[in-house]
Every structure is written in C-alpha cells, then in structure tokens.
Amino acid sequence: MPTMTLIQAINAALDEEMKRDERVMLLGEDVGRRGGVFLATEGLQQKYGPDRVMDTPLSEAAIIGAAVGLAAHGMRPVAEIQFADYVFPGIDQLFSQAAKLRYRSGGQFSAPMVVRMPTGGGVKGGHHHSQSPEAHFAHTAGLKVIVVSTPYDAKGLLKAAIRDDDPVVFMEPKRLYRAVKEEVPTDEFLLPIGKAAVRRQGRDITLVSYGGSMVETLKAAEEMVAAGLEPEVIDLRTVMPWDKETVLSSAAKTGRLLVISEAPRTASIASEVAATVSEELFDQLLAPPLRVTGFDTPYPLAQDKLYMPTVTRILNAAKRLLDY
C-alpha cells in the first residue's frame, strides 16, 4: 500500500471519482492550470481537460451557485473554495440554495455537490487564511459537514461525499496537508459519513476533537499515557451529523468529557457536543464536560500558534476534569 500525505489523498480521491463517474467535475479558482493553490487538483486538468477541471472567475458565489445548478441538472460537481475564510461571499448560495433546494421543492430537486475548502490555522495566515467556520455550516439545516484529519479518512470520506446525494461541505485542515504520510489503499474504499473514529481506547477521560486540533489532542493524550493515564480519543470526522452514539458511549464509560477544537468557542461544535453530553449523561458524568477551543477573537497572525488549543491548554483542562 502506498503512503500518502493528506493532499495526495485528496488528489487521489478526486482522480478516482472522476475516472469512475463522468458526471464528476471540479471547479474553483486556480484549480485548473495551476492545480489549486495547495495542489489538491494537480495534474487533473491535464488528465480530464478544462471542461471537467474548470478555472472559474474570482467569485465564490459563482462557484457554489454554479455547482448548485450543475448538481440539480445531473452533474456531480466538486467546488473548491480557496480558503474556508472566503466562503462568505458565496455563503448565500450555500445556505439559501444548496442547503434548502431539496426541502423547498418538496424533494423534486436536489443538489448533490461537494464544497471543499482548506480550513484552520497554523500556517501564518492571519485573519483570512486561518478560520474554522464549520459551526456556521452545521447550524444550517440541509448541509453535511466533514472535517478530516488523516490521509486515509480524507480519501475515504471525500469519495463518500462525492457520491452522497446531499450537499457536503468538506473541510481540509491546511496545516495537515503535508504534515504526515500514512498508508492509503489504492483500491476502492469508502468511509461512512457521520461515523467517528476512536483513535485510542481508554477509560479515564474522553477527548473528543476533529480536524487540525487532532494533532494537539493526540499529543496531549500521549503525555497523559506517559503519566500513567488512559485517555480515550475520538475523532469526530463528521461534525454534521456528528456521531453522538460513539461519543456518548465513551463519555458514559469514562465519566469525563473534554471537547477540543480550534474554532471560536461561542456557539461552536464544541458547545454542541458539550451541551448534548451533559444533557444525556448528567448522572453518569464525574465532572462537567469541558471545552478547549480557539478564542473568540479574529485570528491573529502574530499568535498563530497560541490562538489554537495548545497541548498545555488541553492538559490543563484534562487535569481540571481528572482532579474534579
């Protein structure tokens, strides 16, 4: 089995799906000749031509909106938004059109499309190349939302997203694009949307995270292990619909829940998971569900690393839970 980086896995998934299904096409800013600013679509225009790997004008509304029409008419578009931060000029297309088309038409029309976007901080991107807007998508009925953290997942989930009959927002933590390589099968495999991965079994505390923050979460877990603890680590992978079952059964077992995400804190995915777990497991918890999140500030260039949950911050919160 070959090893791949996350970006290579994305590229492979796109390639395979385009080969498999003629209706699959890519569109976005610089996805064609340049192969994307992160090279996610490298080589694909050469292979499939400019009609199926299409450079668009600089307009996120045009990209997402055209994807809606392409999908409604029978194509399987995969749109790229160059950075998650730039989804906002096109977000009405995502919210008013893509997310609601099936519903408003009573099931007559639908928009099976994927909107891919690099997300998150850690690459010295400042305000507009670092944000993690997944809560906006998850709060909007009609969208599925995936945030990957490994090459293997990226491939299996992107392929599943492309075949899904609903609009899927597919978020790729850019700081992980080339961070690690792992073995990724070259033959056909799909991963189920909505299913979390238990990265580590344990019984003392449940750490729930996803996306870029999985790095620090896993590091923190290692340090805990070194200190003789047994944390259970869950990677949500899909944040809408998120895998409540897996989280609840883990938290019921450990009695302690810590949710970690680099997105801003207020009204976040972390808030949702914490609120739900406290609602459903009140009696079985040994301590209150806690959150370690990004701060409620715009993303500051100078504090590119400190803005996000650090290992220290995660460990401090875990200690609070364990000492409770």
Binding site: R52, S59, G106
Partner: protein, 369 residues
C-alpha cells in the same frame, strides 16, 4: 445560428417593438406565425390575467397569506414561455412569474395548491405562495432570495453545454435583482463559459417601492450586458410578439453555442408589490393610471383585430372557459387536506440523520399528547 436569421440588434437606444400601441405590425420582417399561435398568445395572456385576478380574490377572502401580482407582466411572460421548448429547456423563474409558469404548463391545481399551502402543493407547502416549481417541466423551484437563482441557472446551463443536451437555461428576475452581487457573478461566469443561458429582466421599474432611478444609474438594464461581453436586448415587454421573437432569437443563439444574452423586457406592475404592500405610499395614482392605459392585453387585441383574427364571441368563450378551469382547479386544490406536520423532517436530507429522528419523535409525542 445562421447569420441571416439574426433580426435584432443589441444595445438599441429605443426598446425593440414589433407591434405599436395601435396594434400595428411595425417590424421590417413578416411575423410568419399561424393564426392559431397568435390566438394562443392571447389565450395565455388572458389566462395569466384571470389567474392574477383569482389570486387577488384568494387574498381578499383570506384563503391565502401572500401573492405577488403579475398583472402588467403578461405579454413578457407569455412571450418567454412560448420561446422556450417546454419540458426540454429549463426555466429559473422568480416569484412574480405565475403567468409564465402557467403558460409553460404547470397545472393550475399545483399553482393553487402552492398558493393555499396545503397538501395540493407538490412541494409540500414549505414555501410562501408565489414560489412555484416543477421537476416534470424543468421549472426550478422559486427561491425567495432575490437573484440567488442566477448562479444556479449558470450552472445548469454549463451542465447542458458540457453534456451537449441541446437545452437552454432561461432565467428571469426583476430590475431590482440586477443590483445583487450574485446577479453579476452568475452572468459573468456564464459569459466566460459561453453557457447556453438567457437572462431575462422583467423590468417594471420598481423594486417594492424603490424606483429604478435609485436602483441603478445605467441607461437601462440591457446595457449591463456590456460588462460581460454578451448582447443585451432592450425590448418593449408590453409587446408580446417583441418579447417572443427576441427571446426566441436569444434562446436559439444560446442553443447554437453562441453564448448567453441578457434580455430586458420593459413592463408595468399594475398591482402593489405584493399583498403585503401598499403602493400608494410611494407611487402616484396618476402614474399608475397612465400605465394602465398601456395594458398589454387590449394592445394585443388591437393587433389581432388588425390581423382579422379577433372575434368577440371567441374571446368571450375563452374568458368563460378559462374562468371555469380556474374555478375547477381551485376547488380541487381546496379539497386537499393539510400537510402532515411530521413531513417537516423530510427532504432536509435524502435520509433523516439521528438528530432529525429525535426531533421528529419529540414532535410526534407532542402531537399525540
């Protein structure tokens, strides 16, 4: 498209007009249309007008919660409907297009079902009235958000081009819509890709209360096509034949692979913006009276008279027949029951995820108790 078939010049300083106020054919070419089709235009315009009147009654009698009257837009809408290939081409309409979707063949029962918001609405009564749609007829369900359907129309046209389906995407909107960013984004992308789309502005010179002078400083709407390197046609939308022929040329041009165009059909809005509006707050009754003098129906009647195709008895019977059909469809729609509340949780996704199952269960329990 063969050059000799090109009849119209884009960017004219006066609106393109084929029939004058007196009903005279003033174009430099023969219309060449059979009497049947000429009468059909009248029939559809009359049906549109009578539907409008019926909708007004539904509002007055409290049977529906909202309407957006289309009276004054009939010639434009019927012209559009006849220019596209029904059930083959796609229409991306907006909320004032009831006359258009009717002429296109959306069944009256569905129209009334949507208006009443009951189980007769094929879209399950999820949107306000005046939001029709039909998968069967390729009518993309209306979305309230102004101009948000423009980029999807571009996308559908792109799909038609890529898959060589020979279809065209026709997308309608009002003058106000042209100020939205999505309008610009959609036209620009369509033009770059030479997608087979026709963008049609039903310009009634008002966006609710806002006069076009506060909407844009451009001479007219058609000239905005210059920004996209595509033709822009400035047309008298009270003239059903001008609307029809220009639309036809634009559509066939798109079908022939020559790219999109922008067609401006200048119309009047005889009613208020909607049943929620009181237009006397911002529009003088004199202005309205003058506009009503330019009603597209009598004008087209004069044309038919001049062509020797008018017959008072035929017209009376037509009116009766349409009225009956309207009433029958309305009654049928009225019979339909209320939608099942639990349908609320369907069609959010293709299948219900756990959280919607939970929420559905919560409501089901509440309804049972």
């Amino acid at each position: 498209m063969v050059q000799e078939k090109v009849r119209f010049q884009p960017f004219s300083s006066e609106p393109i007009r084929l029939v004058d106020e007196q009903g005279r054919w003033i174009a430099p070419f023969e219309h060449g249309l059979p009497p049947e089709q000429l009468r059909r235009f009248y029939r559809d315009m009359l049906a549109a007008r009578l539907l409008d009147e019926k909708l007004v009654i539904l509002i007055r009698t409290g049977k529906t919660s909202f309407i957006a009257p289309h009276a004054g837009h009939e010639a434009a809408q019927v012209g559009i409907a006849h220019a596209l290939r029904k059930g083959h081409d796609w229409l991306f309409p907006y909320y004032r297009d009831m006359g258009l979707v009717l002429a296109l063949g959306v069944p009256l029962v569905e129209i009334f079902g949507q208006t009443l918001g009951n189980a007769a609405d094929p879209a399950k009564a999820r949107q306000m009235p005046s939001h029709p749609g039909s998968k069967a007829l390729n009518v993309f369900t209306v979305c309230s958000a102004i101009a948000s359907h423009i980029p999807p129309a571009t996308g559908a046209a792109l799909s038609m081009k890529l898959r060589r389906t020979g279809q065209v995407a026709v997308c309608t909107f009002g003058d106000g819509a042209t100020s939205e960013g999505d309008w610009h984004a959609g036209l620009n992308f369509a033009a770059v890709q030479q997608a087979p789309a026709v963008f049609v502005c039903e310009n009634n010179r008002y966006a609710i209360s806002v006069n076009i002078s506060k909407q844009t400083a451009s001479e007219n709407i058609a000239i905005k096509a210059q920004a996209y390197g595509i033709p822009g046609y400035y047309v008298d939308g009270l003239d059903v034949l001008a609307s029809y022929f220009v639309m036809q040329e634009a559509i066939e041009r798109a079908r022939a692979g020559e790219g999109p165009s922008l067609v401006e059909l200048v119309v009047h809005r005889f009613g208020a913006h909607s049943s929620a509006d009181d237009d006397s707050r911002y529009r003088s009754r004199e202005e309205l009276a003058t506009e009503r003098q330019q009603d597209p129906l009598p004008r087209y009647q004069r044309f038919l008279e001049q062509q020797g195709l008018w017959d008072a008895q035929w017209a009376n019977e037509l009116r009766l027949e349409i009225s009956k059909a309207l009433e029958a469809a309305l009654q049928e729609a009225l019979q339909a029951g209320e939608p099942d509340p639990l349908e609320m949780f369907d069609d959010v996704y293709a299948a219900r995820p756990w959280h919607l199952e939970e929420q559905r269960r919560l409501l089901a329990e509440e309804l049972q108790s």
